[in-house]
Each structure stands twice: as C-alpha cells, then as structure tokens.
Amino acid sequence: MTRSLGTDPPELRAERRLRAPRRRHGQEEVARRRFRRLKKELRLDGPEAPPSAAGPAHRVDIVVVPARKGYFHPLKPADIKRAFEFFGPLVVYGIRSVEMRPSVRRSFPNVPIARLQVPGKVVLYEQLQPPWSLSDLSEESIDRLRRAGASVEEELGAARVDWTSQALKDFVLFEGLMHEIGHHLIQQHTGKRSVRVMRTADHELRAAAFVETCRRAWTNAKRQP
C-alpha cells in the first residue's frame, strides 16, 4: 500500500508543514527521494530541480487589545506561547492568530469566553475582574465553572463566582483557547476548512473531549517533577 504525503498522520504532517509552510508538497524530502528512485529505475538522467524556498517557519500572531476598565485578559501572550510549546505542532498547525479582545454583546445574554473564526482565528474575550455575579446561569454552565475550579455560590436567580488567579487562567486556557482549537482541528484536518463538517452538537462534543484530553495531559505534566 502506498501512502501519500496527504495521508501522513496529522502529528507528522503538522510538524513538517509548520517547519516549512511555503514549501510545495512535491518538494518534500519523501517526494524527492521517491522521484530520485523513479528516475534511477527508468535510467533517466538530468539535473535535479533545486528545492523551492521553504519560507520562514509558521508563526501564530498574538494580538492584544487592552481590556476595558473593570475587565482584564487572564492569559498573557507568554502563557499562550507556553501552551503551544507544550501541546506541540498539532494544535498550532493552521492557527493564524490568537486575539485578545474586549467582549462583545453578540452573545448576550450568554457570557462570551472565546470564539473561533474559521479558518484559524481564535478570539479570547476579556473577563470581568472576579468575583463575578451572574444571573440565570444554566446548570451546565455552573458545572463547567465548578469543574474549572471556580467557587460558585448559588443564590436566587443569580450566582456568585469567585476565582483564584490560576484557576481563571486555566479556565480561559482550556474552556476558551483549547476548546476553540478543538473546533479548529476538526475543521483543519478534514480538508474542508471553511465548510461545516459536522452537526454543531457533535462539533461541540468533540471539542469538549479534546479539552479534557489536553487538561489531563497538562495536569499530569505539572504533577511530574
């Protein structure tokens, strides 16, 4: 069975393309080796074409728009870079930018955390300084906050949500950035990057599963000395 470069495992493909994003696929090392072997078998002679310019390595732009008064960005660019280094090329491949922006009321009355604009743009929204007082939160959201380490006190129709600095940072990292990257990976590795490839509910489930995997890996790495 032959295997083309397009069906490389995503980890290998991501790593290779991050290293040389502008190199044509026919100029990959494996392709060039195969072509040399074919020429030898067919006894064809001639100069080999020079490899095309590989271009600079892939870089994710991190844009920070200052938060408004009373709000802040829990993650710093260094935190995002550290996470990218930890999770490796797979999560970075295809991401064009991560932008930290003031929140918008598009999602009112829901509280926005992050958004993925396909293909490859992740927006992380500013968050209110804790403690938060949020009204009419759904049970699912309260569970999500508790899982992320927040202390949630439920009152009549409202919830008081308090965070430690690290818990809020992790919340935005996983429920915001990695959740959207989970969506991104589904789109990126199907080849149909700007077309909805599955039902939104399934998309969300897979993104949530990806977040859990990442969270486990992150926690385990922190535990190890």
Binding site: P109, N110, P112
Partner: protein
C-alpha cells in the same frame, strides 16, 4: 412663544387605543380629538373612557391649524429634528390598520415619519407613535437624527422593569422590536408576562405582535448584578438630567425603564456598574402615566442616539464565515411566543 397643539386620531377603531391617545395628549398638555371614520363612537364606552371629542373633516382641514401627519410615507421627513409649522398645529396619527386617509395626507403641511429598523415588526402602537411624535415635535428641542454605519453595535441592552399591566408591557416590547432590538430583558415582578393565565398571555402577546415579532423576551431581575458597566434608568418621574443630554448608547450600557405608576420604584443599586438617571421632559408628567408611552419615548431616544444607517446604504452583511463560540450559557426561559390567531379572536 407658546405653541398650541392638538392631537387627532384619524380612523382609530379600538377604544383602548383611543384612551391611550387621550393619555398621550394629556402628557404633553395637548387637546385630543378623533375623526371617526371607522366606528369608534359606536364602540366607545363613555362611562369608562370619558367624553369623546370628535372633529369633522371640515374643521380639521383648517388653515389656522396646519396639519402635521405622522405617517411613514415616501418623502416624509424624519421626526427627529422636525418642527411644527406654526404656533398652533394639528398632529394627526392614523388608525391601526389603514393609517391616515389620503385626504388628510394631501392636506398636511408636513408629513413626518418615525424611522424604525425592526424586522418583522416595523410599526408602533398608535398611541406610542403619537407620544413619540409629540415628544420630538413639542418637547424634543429639535434633536436631529444621527448617522451610524453600524448602529446595532452601539445599541444598549434594554430592561423593562416591573410593568404593571400586560398590555402596556406588550406594547413596550413591540416598540423595542420596531426600533431594532432583538432581545429585551423583562423584570416580571408584577407577574404580568410569564406564567400568567391564558387570557392575560394572549392579550399581552397580541399587544406585542408576537406572531410577527422576532424579539426574545428574557426574564431578569433588578436585584442581581447583570455585569453591565453603565446602568441608565430613564423615565418620566426619574430625578435626573433631561434624557437627550444623557448618553444612552454603548454595548456595555443597560437601559432600564421602570414602571413609575402607583407603587414606588425598585432600587437599582444592585444592578452593578454606575447608575445614571435620565428624565423625559413632559409638560404634565403627573397626569395619566402610561408605561407604553414613556417606554416608547425612551426607546425612541435611545434609537435616535444610536443612529440611523445613512439612506441608500445597504445593510452591511454580517460577519462571514463559520464561527464557533464558547460561552457560559444562561437559562433560556421565556422568549417571544407565537399566538394562534384563532385564540386571539376570542378576545
């Protein structure tokens, strides 16, 4: 210079709307009369509504009282910034279904329109429209329209606080939808909207034009922090500067319209953010308070400050492409409901 204004309802059919029109006129110290072309007098209950002042066509088309027609006709000028043509004028509003008749439109010295950007619902209740016209023509101090490329990005969130009547609440919701709001919060402490009897539900939803109205009505409470940076409480009896001098716009602004009827107003100190107050200048604010009239004037002023899209400019397309969003979701209770027209006929 003292201006004399009379409000004329042309072809109004519903006695309840006629009573609301009389209240709108009373709020601005104007006289109110009706040209009865569609059987209003027959349906009028003098004991309940008082004396009905009728006017005939001959007396209405009087050069001493030039007519200002409030109608969304082509070529009508925008009510924001419009002025009255003389020291005394007749402001004419049309009936619920057919509007102002052609003979009055032809005789009108001026025609003004109330610009609305709502989808589904793009008309106001006749009394609410009259209140907006009276406010801008008599008390609005020539406040001109503003232009904005993306007005929806400056539109504040809206909270209708404790309306005490379901029809008044429904009319206010309809006004919000007509001026372009897609979501409105409702503090239903007076129990007029959510979980009420079938009859009350049907009347309220009919006033809100729920069968065409795409607005979402979310239950909210004024006792919790809603995470808005600015809270602006606006009304007729609120102690504060005039509403046109207060900025009502902004994504992080919550505009609260309390019902200032008989009972006292709730405290808004728990809503979070800085609380500002704004007052509608009315000639006779103490008389005939009606929630829908005050709410519609406040919403119209917020819409005026938010801005109008320049004429001829097409609606900008939404953000293109596929997006996924991670949010903390709130409980999706309430919402606009569809009413079966067969049910409405029973009321």
């Amino acid at each position: 210079m003292t201006r004399r204004v009379r409000l004329v309802g042309d072809g109004v059919e519903n006695p309840a709307n006629a009573r609301a029109l009389m209240d709108a006129a009373a709020m601005f110290g104007a006289a109110c009369a009706f040209r009865d072309t569609r059987g209003l007098l027959a349906a009028w209950d003098a004991e309940r509504g008082g004396e009905l002042d009728l006017i005939d066509t001959h007396n209405l088309i009087d050069r001493q009282w030039p007519i200002v027609a409030v109608e969304n006709t082509p070529g009508a000028s925008i009510v924001y910034g419009a002025t009255l043509p003389g020291t005394q004028s007749s402001i004419v509003v049309g009936g619920e279904r057919l509007g102002i008749r052609a003979d009055l439109l032809r005789a009108a010295a001026r025609t003004v329109s109330i610009p609305m950007s709502g989808r589904g619902v793009n008309t106001l209740n006749v009394a609410a429209a009259a209140a907006v016209a009276l406010y801008y023509l008599t008390a609005g101090r020539g406040l001109g329209p503003r232009l904005a490329r993306r007005p929806e990005e400056r539109r504040p969130a809206l909270l209708l606080s404790c309306p005490k009547d379901h029809v008044e609440a429904g009319s206010a919701i309809r006004s919000a939808a007509a001026f372009g709001w897609r979501t409105v919060g409702l503090d239903d402490s007076s129990r007029v909207w959510f979980g009420v009897s079938r009859g009350v539900t049907a009347e309220g939803r009919a006033a809100a034009r729920s069968h065409r109205n795409l607005i979402r009505v979310l239950p909210m409470t004024t006792g919790s922090n809603l995470a808005f940076r600015r809270i602006v409480v606006a009304g007729a009896r609120v102690d504060g500067p005039p509403i046109h001098s207060v900025n009502l716009t902004g994504r992080d602004t919550l505009l609260v319209i309390p019902d200032e009827g008989d009972a006292g107003m709730p405290s808004f100190s728990n809503l979070g953010g800085s609380v500002e107050r704004a007052r509608i200048d009315l000639s006779v604010p103490a008389l005939h308070y009606r929630y829908r009239l005050v709410a519609t004037i406040v919403i119209a002023e917020a819409a005026r400050q938010t801005g109008l899209r320049p004429a001829g400019q097409p609606r900008l397309p939404g953000r293109r492409g596929l997006t996924y969003e991670s949010t903390l979701s709130t409980v999706a209770r309430g919402g606009a409901e569809e009413v079966d027209p067969a049910v409405l006929k029973t009321f």
